[in-house]
Point group: C2
Chain length 190, copies 2
């Protein structure tokens, strides 16, 4: 993706986080990015395409900051999930905008295919790491990897909102995720 296009999407994500999906105004996105509204339309065509592109960009940004940790499967799952919560404005904005677009898609069905595909990609990635953990012996082989991935990623969304609304600190939120993951996946001591 070009730097210009990426910068426009960063501006859109911030506007969505702060003003909500329905409150996102193209003029404010343009002003935040320091460009004309015409340039926004040139790149994205219409508002619906901009929203969809912003959603995909949120997914790409999250994949970048959750990283690709090494180590045993259980530790890798804990790290990628906990990395969704970081004391960093870009992470906070990304997570808030994801929540806004996700909640908008409850009634705005145009966004649903994208949010569903991104959620599935995320869930499949986590299930894949769980599978590695079952092979390396760090995760209970009796766990249903897909079901556990659905539950753990849903838990990340719930815990993230508690963090974003100030009910949990970063450390508390990450600790809840780490302990829940261990409880759900850990192999019992023989």
């Amino acid at each position: 993706m070009s730097d210009r296009r990426s910068a426009l999407l960063d501006a859109a994500i911030t506007e969505i986080a702060v003003n909500g999906t329905r409150g996102m105004r193209i003029e404010l996105v343009a002003r935040r990015a320091g460009v004309s509204t015409a340039l926004i339309y040139h790149h994205f065509g219409d508002r619906a395409t901009l929203l969809q592109s912003a959603l995909e960009h949120i997914g790409d940004r999250a994949e970048a900051y959750t990283g690709d940790p090494t180590g045993a499967g259980l530790e890798r799952v804990i790290t990628v999930l906990a990395n969704e919560i970081q004391d960093d404005d870009a992470v906070r904005t990304n997570s808030a905008a994801w929540g806004e677009l996700r909640d908008t898609s409850i009634f705005d069905h145009a966004l649903r295919p994208t949010i569903t595909a991104l959620t599935r990609r995320w869930t499949d990635d986590v299930a894949n790491i769980i599978g590695h953990g079952q092979q390396d012996g760090s995760i209970d082989p009796a766990v249903d990897a897909h079901a556990a991935a659905v539950r753990l990623t849903a838990l990340v969304e719930g815990i993230s909102t508690r963090w974003l609304t100030g009910m949990l600190t970063v450390a508390e939120a990450r600790s809840h995720l780490a302990e829940s993951t261990a409880t759900m996946l850990r192999r019992e001591a023989p």
Copy 2:
């Protein structure tokens, strides 16, 4: 609460669910309730008070439909959590409006004390049932009841959104909650 006041809040909750917190227009709430905008202002004074009253009403409605089940503690926890997800328009609207107001409170700090107090009340209720389960032997006494309640209620929020966006059916969502609750709380067979 008077029936009239309750009906006005029901209308506000539906408008919030459908149009978002920032998109909620007093005129549309009034039209939906079949009253004048003046009557809305008469009851609630201003928009901020209406939003806060709607949030409290969402909490009361949820307490009514999650119920007060009987039985052993573990089964009671599973039932109250699963009852947050029901194939019922009023439950769906309530859950969607809760999500909208909760996410608005990320940037709108005026709503935070109310959402925090309601979340704490919900978490304390669940922790209390977990405590009963530890006394009746259905729940592992080593579980930290408060921490487990935070995780389980956050999971309900994450799973509810998957349901509201059509990614999980009611049955799938309830099954994920029941199995996660059992995994987190169940006493190991001796």
